[in-house]
Symmetry: C2
Subunit: 236 residues, 2 copies
């Protein structure tokens, strides 16, 4: 163990770094996986987009900082948030040493959210597969978070967090297909959801659709928690 005075000295002096959080905010619009970005005005990245982030304040955890960024920038509270990993290349930030802790979060793209984005010209919602370059190392962060989202989506019932509280089975299937980049068999998918027992019919059905109306389902949290103890996997 290193001498305490060396520690004290390093902690209080030039071994300090700025620590930030960066949030990869995913949404889904019944077509594509989207990401919420911000216009960047910092040289040399002017006119590029960046993730939503901020420096971590002295009296908050990184989780709290990420949550604060989400609430401040999106107006939404009660957001699903998951820490992904730290990025710490010494030259990743033009203003000096900034180590960032990345998070991804899942939001529902509803009209309120779209209005919020429209009212804030610095915000933009892009399709993930159309994002080819971002400020800083944010493209790398986005890709890392996307990979982690895909993995978690196969192992945990997260898809619901990207959908409205009531949704049809086709919406849910399309979501998995589009985020995971796979195709699924309709009958197998529906049987799977059925046997998992974590969805309940809401009793409502679609209206004004030019085809047979679909039933609306919702995610049954308590049934899920009963199941999760014995291991859980979607199996695709």
């Amino acid at each position: 163990m290193k001498n305490i005075n060396i520690w004290l000295d390093q902690i209080q002096n030039d071994y300090k770094a700025a620590v930030s959080v960066d949030c990869v905010i995913f949404g889904y619009d019944d077509q594509n996986l989207k990401i919420l970005l911000s216009k960047c005005d910092m040289p040399p990245f002017e006119n590029q987009f960046s993730l939503l982030g901020d420096i971590v304040h002295p009296n908050e955890t990184t989780d709290e900082a990420a949550y604060r960024v989400l609430v401040e920038r999106t107006g939404i509270s009660n957001i699903y948030l998951e820490q992904v990993q730290a990025f710490s290349a010494p030259n990743r930030h033009p203003l000096g040493r900034v180590i960032t802790i990345s998070y991804y979060s899942l939001i529902q793209i509803d009209q309120t959210f779209l209005d919020h984005v429209a009212a804030h010209p610095d915000l933009i919602l892009k399709s993930v597969n159309e994002v080819h370059t971002l400020a800083f190392d944010h493209k790398l962060i986005m890709d890392t978070c996307l990979t982690k989202l895909q993995k978690n989506l196969r192992e945990h019932p997260l898809g619901f967090k990207l959908l409205p509280s009531r949704f049809t089975l086709l919406q849910l299937q399309n979501l998995y297909e589009s985020v995971l980049g796979i195709t699924l068999d309709k009958r197998n998918f529906r049987r799977k959801m059925n046997t998992l027992g974590i969805l309940k019919e809401s009793g409502e059905i679609e209206s004004d659709v030019p085809h047979r109306p679909a039933k609306y389902y919702y995610f049954d949290e308590t049934a899920y928690h009963d199941r999760v103890e014995l291991g859980f996997s979607f199996g695709f």
Copy 2:
């Protein structure tokens, strides 16, 4: 996007934090999962044990810092290392704000390593299941890393990194049983390893054992990489 001057100000002044790495170093001694710890001399944790860690230097990544700690403290290079997550409770360190990035690593407990530990009185090797309390929030970090190790062990061929380069199938099975806390069927386990095709016989066998000598196997890295493309799981 926040004004650049605010950023600059915060980065350069009191929003800075010390950033450290903490390494959960796992080993396996043919009996139990072990962890390498260090005696702690920092109040109020005197006479407790802590993880091996250090502050991150200005010109290195956290990966590099973790690797540096491992080489400096264990004498081993070429160690498997995986970032787990950041811990950032504002009061987690008595000397001030220290955000830590945790890593776990897997080492082989051979005679060289045991000699190294014996030669350094500040180091101690303990059975993971006998560690009930550690300095700082290191018990929480250890538990988090153990959970992640168990998950990764089921999904990736990591077990080999805890064993000598040549090992018997029983050694391997015992490792999985003891780290995952499960029991496995001998025949099914052997068939599984066989069909995965990632083990090769070395041609050598045990000697001086009071029973039929076992074959030594080694992990066939290239066969694994051929397989891994199509998804990989041990299925237990």
